[in-house]
Subunit: 131 residues, 2 copies
């Protein structure tokens, strides 16, 4: 299972881009709002994977809670799958907790779903459906 991207929680997207573009180059496009997570994101190419910078839109965003508790840093690890519902179902079948029981719309027009950090020892795992 390939790494699709590594998600990084930031306070300010513009400031974060100043830090990361020397390593990874400019973002793949303009920032995108992901309404379901109340975030604005930018993707930076990193070989076959990406780094995703996530800035919360408002205090209700899960990323705001993460920033308040832990500060800026790596937020989640996303893997590419052919079928996001199946990937989530397999976590449930192994007795793992999930945030999403089935996929939902995510960034870049893709279906995504999150397992619960309890399922992977504190790591928030996202599955991204890439047909």
């Amino acid at each position: 299972m390939e790494i699709d991207h590594v998600g990084i929680a930031v306070q300010d997207l513009a400031a974060a881009l100043v830090r990361w573009t020397p390593l990874l180059g400019p973002p793949t496009g303009p920032p995108e709002v992901v309404p379901s997570n109340r975030v604005r994101v930018s993707f930076l190419e990193s070989g076959a994977s990406h780094v995703e910078l996530l800035e919360p839109l408002d205090p209700d965003s899960p990323v705001s809670k993460f920033l308040a508790q832990r500060g800026e840093g790596i937020h989640h690890l996303a893997f590419r799958v052919a079928d996001v519902d199946r990937a989530l179902g397999e976590v449930i079948a192994r007795g793992g907790s999930v945030v999403d029981r089935i996929g939902r719309p995510g960034a870049r027009g893709r279906r995504v779903g999150f397992a619960h950090p309890r399922a992977f020892g504190g790591v928030l795992v996202e599955f991204v459906e890439v047909p």
Copy 2:
């Protein structure tokens, strides 16, 4: 710059392997001790990248301090570079802090070096030299 691996801090390597092998398959080899960081690590293949599971050898390991402060979770993000000294030098030249000013021996017989989390907004970045 490609993602070489994502490092995950774990309390117990054997327990962590039970969680991760259903996603990524078995580790690439037996666990390896990295004396400079006081850790025992396993690598699991993930496309062109790897997931590295890090278990501290003793309370003096930086991973022990991470686990005590934040619990199990994603510990660092490693990028593949042709020249680790140059990558660290470029961080310093941009005014960023580093843990290592030049490369040192890391896992898998490779030269590695860490920037300071301050240089990348709370993200501990490692450079791995892959000639």
